[in-house]
């Protein structure tokens, strides 16, 4: 009583606590609404924490037990950054030379006495996968038995490779390559003897014994075990000898930035980071998810609140009671969510390591300040979400509440206008954010759009309700209920909207990535076709190779029509394919950016809009053509491009006339194609012109095909260099594997199977999409559950006046359908908008470079949207199943 303020808060908290206990179901739902997103955030935070390494851990990952990594770079002094990744010479010189071939003795001379040097070398090389594909893999050459590598590379089982034909592989590599690894030409073969793991990289790694790397890199690298830690001064000393150093001591205790002459990474990374967008939208989702819980709660408690008012409670008291609700439930939700999150993060760590991060976590640890931050965030969110209902409840008419009438909320025109204005405003902000590549602006914009949409929901609901006058009873009641109980329906719809929007936004990104891959994919052959290049002139090529290859293809793909493909060869050396005929664009048809890189954003924009530059993009799907300088006629066109009918006839006719069949419209100028004659022995530039025929590149794969007449004109011979097998479907992996082996034996290059664009392989996004879909379902269930709790009395009434169990179930289903359906509709709108905004910003942010990466297409994730349909359906099913079909036996009131 001495502290009236605290006293009334205490009363409010007590009332809130009692209320929670009395309405267990509702409280549980509210807690769940808060716990679900908190769990997501908490999981992310805890995982981030576990995967963020301490400097000492980082050092061990990089250099094992060594004190430093030393890399001789140049013979003249250099300067470097603190972590030994970026360097530049002290004096820029024209004769830019690298310090190749520095020996161990030379290196030791620069280091203190008693230093032990352990060499390791890494290089990337092409290897054949178990399924016969060609993959660029990272191979490391080191002595796994040396304890100095502990913490950097660990031998999990088996033994360290010692002989030249032995390899230790990571688990991922083993899955990909099998027990035997070979180079594409079959010249080198390794057999797995052990499993190795690089904690920093759980991807495909291979370790061979010292001296086993087929193609050694130019620069040598050593791990150095020095008697004393290598301090920053020591690093600077070595720099003056042209050696770059990564020192454990420096990593753990980095020098003051002022002492570091150069900073790594020139800070020109303009690629948009999606992290703030994701976090920002996640927070928005929490608020929108928790909102309906409190709104419904406050409404349901209107009577008890009115009683408090009737007993002399001020509006402040009422506000406090509802806010105390928010505080307690927010706290409960946050704590529960966090506990689940931490458990998930800890138990799911191995999965996360392998699927999501691809590296081992530093350890089991949780950052209390960050987790506390999340709890505080959830509580503030709870308070915020409770605030609106709190003020509404405090303003509610006591008499109306006491008589138990449901207040009618007519949607006020100004709210709708405000909502529309906010949505428009938010869109403008988001667009501005996109234009200026300001992540914060985008997030704020998207948030404002969503809040605007939320404000519009009641009006939308009202609109929809008007449409339902002649519907059967159950859906009509559901629509009217939603329309007349806007105070609780709107937040529930908003919650579903928020969750769906998140899922859809992720879906937009995923779809766009897949579409981009597809756009970037350069199809070499018709789908499923198999081509093999004999590898004319290579070491493995023998006179019998074509014959063996034909037999191998015929055996592996019975029934597939085989077509011989010819290429130009030099007349003076019929094994050299260096003599080529290459159709080229005339100067006027060339993308100006190729010759003169753009200097200003305006120029970049101009180039981006230039159709001639459409091909000048850095894509993700680069592929080397199987045949370069193809000479052929009708058969070749059919086999390589899949053309048929009149198109094939016309193409064949052009070739017969000595022409060229091309796929790039800009190669043809006034009906003629310019063909560059390339001869390694003759540097003079010669060109020929010939009539051109354009195949639509969208429907026809393959490359350019020239007529034999042109080869004759250029003075080149033509020989058969490969085969194309016209399959009816993509051959299965097993067939391809067998073919691989047979063709390797025949001495050809490995076969190329056209299997279309590869899917996006980033599992993180799929996990995110799955989690988001789950949250969406949960949110829809909880939101509709809360809204349906309101309608329970109506269900009893319906039962009493003779509605069959089916009708009652139909009402619940309709209620869920209205809320989940409207929410999904808005969510799809907001999600597609958000996704497009982010994609557009990403595209724009990358156009500063030239040639730019290929843009993300703004594609609508139809499949994803279809799966969003599941949300209302599942919500409806759930509501249907959970509706008590039995009669409400419980008394309406004590007799």
């Amino acid at each position: 009583m001495k502290l009236p303020f605290l006293g009334s808060w205490r009363t409010a908290l007590r009332i809130a606590r009692r209320g929670m206990i009395r309405a267990k179901g509702r409280s549980a739902l509210v807690v769940a609404m808060i716990a679900v997103p908190v769990c997501g955030l908490g999981y992310a935070a805890a995982s981030y924490d576990m995967f963020t390494l301490t400097p000492a851990e980082q050092a061990t990952r990089v250099m094992g037990q060594a004190d430093a990594i030393v890399r001789p770079i140049r013979s003249d002094p250099i300067v470097q950054d603190a972590i030994g990744e970026y360097w530049q010479p002290v004096v820029e010189r024209e004769d830019d030379f690298l310090a190749t071939g520095v020996t161990e003795e030379q290196m030791l001379a620069l280091l203190p006495d008693g230093t032990r040097l352990v060499p390791f070398r890494e290089n990337t090389l092409n290897l054949l996968t178990a399924t016969g594909g060609l993959v660029e893999a990272e191979m490391t050459e080191l002595d796994l038995a040396d304890p100095i590598h502990r913490g950097r590379a660990e031998l999990l089982d088996g033994r360290a490779p010692t002989a030249p034909g032995e390899v230790a592989m990571s688990r991922a590599a083993r899955e990909r390559y099998g027990d035997t690894v070979r180079t594409p030409d079959g010249s080198r073969v390794w057999t797995a003897v052990g499993t190795v793991e690089f904690p920093a990289d759980l991807g495909e790694r291979l370790v061979v014994a010292p001296g086993g790397l087929p193609v050694p890199p130019g620069l040598n690298v050593w791990l150095a075990d020095t008697p004393d830690p290598v301090l920053w001064s020591g690093v600077r000393d070595l720099n003056s000898s042209g050696v770059m150093v990564t020192s454990r001591a420096v990593l753990i205790d980095p020098p003051d930035p002022s002492e570091v002459p150069v900073q790594g990474g020139t800070g020109e990374n303009t690629t948009l980071s999606l992290v703030p967008v994701v976090v920002g939208l996640a927070v928005l989702e929490i608020v929108l998810l928790a909102g309906p819980a409190f709104a419904v709660g406050a409404r349901r408690r209107q009577r008890s609140l009115a009683l408090v008012a009737a007993n002399g409670g001020t509006r402040a008291h009422l506000r406090r009671i509802v806010l105390a609700d928010g505080l307690l439930l927010g706290l409960a939700g946050a704590v529960i969510g966090l506990v689940i999150a931490v458990l998930l993060a800890a138990l799911g760590r191995p999965l996360a390591e392998e699927l999501l991060v691809g590296a081992r976590a530093g350890g089991y640890r949780f950052d209390p300040p960050m987790l506390t931050g999340i709890v505080v965030l959830a509580m503030v969110t709870g308070l915020l979400a409770a605030a609106v209902p709190a003020f509404t409840a405090a303003r509610a008419d006591v008499v109306t509440a006491l008589t138990g009438r449901r207040g009618v909320v007519r949607s006020k025109r100004r709210w709708v206008l405000a909502g529309l204005a906010l949505a428009a405003c938010g869109a403008a902000i988001a667009v501005l954010g996109v234009r200026t590549v300001e992540v914060q602006l985008i997030v704020v914009g998207l948030a404002v759009v969503q809040i605007g949409l939320v404000l519009c929901t009641p009006a939308l609901v009202g609109l929809v309700a008007r449409l339902g006058a002649m519907l059967p009873a159950a859906p009509r009641i559901a629509l009217r209920d939603t329309a007349r109980n806007r105070a609780s329906a709107a937040p529930a719809i908003a919650a579903v909207m928020a969750a769906v929007a998140g899922t859809v936004a992720i879906g937009v990104y995923l779809t766009s990535t897949v579409d981009r891959n597809r756009n970037d994919h350069q199809q070499l052959l018709p789908m499923g076709y198999v081509a093999v290049n004999f590898g004319l002139g290579s070491d493995t090529y023998t006179a019998r190779t074509p014959e063996l290859a034909r037999a191998a293809l015929g055996a592996a793909l019975p029934g597939a029509g085989l077509t011989e493909v010819s290429e130009t060869v030099c007349r003076y050396d019929r094994t050299s394919t260096g003599c080529q005929l290459v159709p080229v664009r005339t100067a006027a048809q060339t993308c100006p950016g190729d010759e003169h890189p753009p200097a200003t954003p305006a120029e970049v924009d101009a180039l981006t809009a230039d159709p001639r530059c459409a091909g000048s993009r850095i894509g993700s799907g680069l592929a080397y053509p199987v045949f370069i300088s193809m000479i052929g006629g009708r058969d070749t066109v059919a086999a390589v491009t899949g053309a048929s009918g009149s198109v094939l006839d016309e193409a064949a006719a052009v070739l017969d006339r000595g022409g060229v069949v091309v796929r790039d419209p800009f190669l043809i100028d006034d009906g003629l194609v310019t063909v560059a004659v390339s001869d390694p022995e003759n540097a003079t530039e010669r060109t020929l012109t010939a009539p051109g025929y354009l195949l639509d590149p969208a429907t026809h794969p393959g490359g350019n095909i020239l007529s034999a007449a042109l080869a004759e004109k250029a003075g080149f011979d033509v020989v058969v260099t490969g085969l194309v097998a016209a399959t009816t479907a993509e051959p299965p992996t097993r067939t391809v594997d067998g073919l691989n082996a047979a063709l390797a034996a025949a001495g050809t290059r490995s076969p190329v199977v056209e299997s279309g664009p590869v899917g996006d392989e980033n599992p993180l996004l799929y996990v995110l999409a799955a989690a988001s879909a789950l949250i969406t379902l949960g949110a829809a269930a909880v939101a509709t559950g809360l809204a349906a709790a309101d309608g329970r009395a109506d269900l009893s009434t319906l039962a009493a006046i003779g509605a069959s169990p089916g009708i009652r179930r139909l009402l619940s289903i309709s209620q869920a359908g209205v809320i989940a359906g409207l929410g999904s509709l808005l969510g799809v709108t907001a999600g597609v908008g958000s996704g497009f905004a982010v994609l557009a910003a990403t595209n724009l942010s990358r156009t500063a470079e030239w040639p730019p990466p290929s843009p993300y297409p703004l594609s609508v994730p139809w499949l994803n949207l279809l799966s969003i349909l599941i949300v209302p359906v599942v919500a409806m099913l759930g509501a249907g199943l959970l509706t008590r079909a039995r009669l409400p036996i419980e008394r309406r009131r004590p007799t």
């Binding site: 009434t797 006046i801 003779g802 069959s804 009708i807 009669l887 309406r892 009131r893 007799t895």
Partner: protein
């Protein structure tokens, strides 16, 4: 022909030590044109009796028959059908669906029974007209007074060919004048041939009944039938 019949009806809630015997061996018949009032103190089983009569609850023992059909032999669907075709239920707190207009509320049982929406509305409108509140048809429940809502609720309970009207303290939430109005509507309906069962704790409302039964601890302890003539009541002033 009896419309409603209770045959040795027992209803026990819970079991063992905590069992509550709401009704013990109730026999009761209600005929067409008869309004029976049920009186008794709190906890005597009045509401249980009504719930059983309305098919909202089933007896633990004995039978409740509506138009000769034992309710416990019916499926949920069948029970629901009886509730919407034969029985009209009037609650103390009206229990109109707040999201439907008066006419829609009244039309609801017909609609649930498969009548077309337009036809059901026409019937509902005439039912509202019968009790003189046709002008309220387009109002929503929260736009009406308690008495108006209860009359709509009665219209809902009477629409169609209902043979049994059950009323659970229908005037409890109303002032006496409005309550009178509501009972008059009920009485008229019964006089027109329906059977009525009215649970009330107010003697003046029981006065509208043809027969009053008194419940105590789940049993019928007394029945007041109709009197021969009014003069029996006239006592000379002392």
């Amino acid at each position: 022909m009896t419309v409603l019949e209770f045959r040795d009806v027992h209803r026990t809630h819970g079991d063992g030590e905590s069992a509550v015997h709401a009704l013990r061996g109730v026999h009761l018949t209600v005929r067409p044109g008869e309004l029976v009032a049920v009186m008794g103190p709190s906890g005597s089983g009045k509401s249980t009796l009504l719930n059983l009569a309305g098919g909202l609850d089933l007896p633990s023992h004995g039978e409740v028959l509506v138009e000769g059909v034992a309710l416990d032999t019916l499926s949920h669907r069948g029970l629901a059908e009886v509730r919407r075709r034969t029985i009209g239920y009037v609650f103390q707190d009206f229990n109109l669906l707040p999201s439907l207009t008066a006419v829609e509320n009244v039309a609801l049982p017909l609609e649930l029974d498969g009548t077309g929406i337009r036809e059901a509305r026409r019937a509902a409108l005439s039912a509202l007209g019968d009790i003189g509140i046709a002008d309220l048809a387009r109002r929503f429940p929260d736009e009406m007074s308690g008495g108006q809502q209860q009359r709509v609720a009665i219209a809902r309970a009477l629409v169609g060919d209902r043979r049994l009207v059950l009323a659970d303290e229908p005037t409890g939430a109303l002032d006496s004048q409005t309550g009178e109005l509501v009972l008059r509507v009920l009485r008229d309906r019964v006089d027109a041939g329906a059977a009525g069962l009215l649970v009330t704790h107010e003697a003046r409302h029981a006065g509208w009944a043809d027969r009053v039964i008194f419940l105590r601890d789940g049993s019928i302890v007394d029945t007041s039938g109709p009197l021969a003539s009014v003069t029996d009541l006239l006592e000379p002033t002392p």
